[in-house]
Each structure stands twice: as C-alpha cells, then as structure tokens.
Amino acid sequence: MSGVDGRLKPAIAHGMRLQWEEAQAAHVLLYPEGMVKLNGTAGAILSRCDGVRCLDEIVAELERTYGASGLAADVNAFVTYALEKQWLELRP
C-alpha cells in the first residue's frame, strides 16, 4: 500500500499547537496568526499524533474506540494530507 509507513510516529509539527476549544466544541490547530477548526474525525486522529504512538497503533486504537474496522486507508490518507499541509511531522 502506498502512503505513510505505519511504523512511523506522526507528531504535531514544530510551531503548531493542537488543543480542544470548548467555545467552538472542536479541536483546533493553532499556528502563527492562524487557526484551523477541525471536524470530529480530524480531531480524533490528530489528537493521537503525539510522536510516541506509531501510525499502526493509532489506527488500531481508533478502530477499538469507534468499534470499526478497515480504517487504515482513510487514516493514512488523512495523515498524508496533514503532512502536506505541514500540520504533522513524522518521527522514526
């Protein structure tokens, strides 16, 4: 499968901050003079990208949490997108 190697550990990129905002009932990504309000799915994925868990572990955890299976392709696609946007960086 193409995309991000599941053994790598995604982390919120340097200079970015992810936090839950009660007033917006959403996770937001904060960066120099900007903010992205994340939808539920994006928030669920990014909030697990702590540079400690590898992508495969994150997928497994999401599948357990949401009682779903076969999420790997969708999560991988979103992580690829987030890497392009420089929201995330990968750690070995």
Binding site: H14, G15, R17, Q19, A23, Q24, P32, E33, M35
Partner: protein
Amino acid sequence: MNASAPSAGSAAARGVGPPLWLLLELTYRCPLHCVFCYNPTDFATTAAELPTAEWLRVLREARALGAVQLGLSGGEPLAREDLEEIAAEAHRLGFYINLITSGVGLSEARITALKSAGVDHIQLSFQDSTREMNDFLSSTRTFDLKAKVAELIRAHGYPMVLNVVLHRYNIDHVAEILAMAERMGAQYVELANTQYYGWAWLNRDALLPSRAQLRRAEEVTRAFRERVGERMKIYFVVPDYFETRPKPCMSGLGSVFLALTPDGTALPCHAARMLPGLSLPNVRAMSVREIWYDSQAFNRFRGQGWMKEPCVSCPERDKDFGGCRCQAYLLTGDADNADPVCDLSPHHHLVTAAVARAEAAVHSGGPAREHVLRFRDHRTSIALLPGVPPGHGSG
C-alpha cells in the same frame, strides 16, 4: 457552559460567535517612527496605559468567551516591562501567543524570559532589505540590530516569521527582501502592501506604488515561490487600491476580531477609532463580555442592516461584507457606503484617481521623499491635532 448562556435578544443569542482573535496594543510607545504605521495619528493624546492587573483581567475574560489567538502588539510591545507577566498569564489560560515586534529591545535575557513565559511565535518586522532604506523608513538605525534579533529568534527555536510592509520606496526590492528572508531561514514571510490608515493614510500619496511596480513585485514573488516551494511560505497581501472588489475586512466587524488600545478602548478593527457615531467602550468600565455582545460599537456593523446600495442588493455582500468601513469613511465621508475599492461603488473614481496620481508621481520621479513623508512621532502627532497652529509641536 450553562453559566454563560446568553440572554434572549442579545447578540450571543442571535448567533454571534466568540471573539476568536484578540489583539492587545499594549502601548503606543515605539522606538521606530515608520511612515506607514496604521496607529492613529493622534496617538500622543491617548490616556494612560492600562496597568498589568487590568490586562490580566482582560485576558481571563476574553479567554472565557472563547478567544484563542492572541496578538501582543503596539507600538512596540517590548516597551512594556510587564510583557513577560502578561504573556505568562495568557499562556496559562491557553492562548496561542503571537508577539508582533520591531525587535528593538529584544535582548537575550528577554527572549529567554518570553520563551519560558510561553510566547508561541514572534513576528519580526523589517522595513527593507537594505540598511539605508530600513533605517530611513523607520527613521532609526535599526537594521543591524534587527538582523541580530532574527538570529536570536531562530536560536531560541521559534519559527522565523518576517513581516515587511511594501510601498513605493521598497516594492522594487522584493527580490532582495526575499533573498534576505531566505538567508535568515524564514519559514513565513509576509509581504504586506501598505493599508492606508493612520500614518499611512497621511502619507498615502507618497507611498502608493505604480501598477507596473506592483506587477513586477508579484512576478518576482511568483518565481521565488516556485523555486523554494513549501520551505518558505510567502503571504503577499494585495494592495486593495489596485483591486476591483473589496477585502472582506475582519470577516465583518464584530465577527471574530477584538482589539484593545493601550488605554483599554475596545475596537472592532485596528482603525475603527476614526469612525464617527461609534461609542467606543473601555475595559475599565465594562466587561469584555458586555463589550463584545452588547456594546453599540460592536453591534453597529453586525449583519447587513446598515448597508446601502450597491451593497444591500449585491450578491457578493455575504463574501466581502461591503469591504472596509474605515476605508469607506476615509474616502467618502460615510462609513455605511460601499468600500470605494469596489468598482460597483459610485465612489470608485476616488481610488482610481489616487492610483493615477501615484502613477504620475512614480513616472516623473516625484518630489524628494524627505519632503513629503511624515514620520510617526510624538511631536508630529501633537502638531497634527486640529487647531494646533503650524510650527507648534513639530520640529
């Protein structure tokens, strides 16, 4: 969140969101004297700056409403000795903190303290890529100091964000400015064409570039972007005088943005103090909640009830909100008019005439810049007040 449930009929109940963006202009004191500063020309008459405790209360109240992006600006915010204390409280509350600075006063000791206080990012302004022009435009000798500060910012692990305000005298140096930014390892560069408010408005006819200058700068920027890719993000803020549709200023006044001036006056945009008929609230007398949801000044331009033709029947009114209220007022004398940048505005000729004058001035070489530019300083601010006879205050 029930404790803060809005009362029926209030702005909150009508679906007004939180003031997501809070800008604190902590002081109008500034070691620079930039000709394009958007601060009001009468800044010298501003009342005493808020004390530390008041700023901390403002931060707590705004954060409770949902404010999350915080700008610490001025003037030069480093002129406040309590900047570190203000930043530390903001960080504790969960703000993302943007320090917007000229760099003057940013020593190793202060940047270390600001970093440990939790400042998330520092935006450093440059006036030009050359020492001569940087120092002329700011009426100071600060170029070398700024270059050192840029190094400090990087050494402390901050993303390097440079801001350069563009106008007639430096727009032809965009290639050199971008090369300087690249040498400094900048990740973000704002090439912000001058917006004409405050001192910039006063100096407008000397600062507006020609269309040919602008096109060249855009072409240089495009080619540079192509070469560096994602390594360096360049924001080219368009000069709206050359457009045919207005900018969606502040996403509409009272929508997401709340600014406070050094004396605690609350503004729905940086420049709104000039607008007639706004009774501007002050945080010394009102809570941030009352100011944001209930004050006349913040409700005056919410929604579309204030709009006139051509805006009121325009299909684009939900996109640009009629443009900038301050620009409408400055150019047409009526803040309810369409922003005259829009070519549907019956006043659009005022903008094209200003651009035509700029074209003529650039082509003829124009008068020597020293004779036409007025620098932002205390004495000039006093001298410009209505009723002050020429010769008083200036010099």
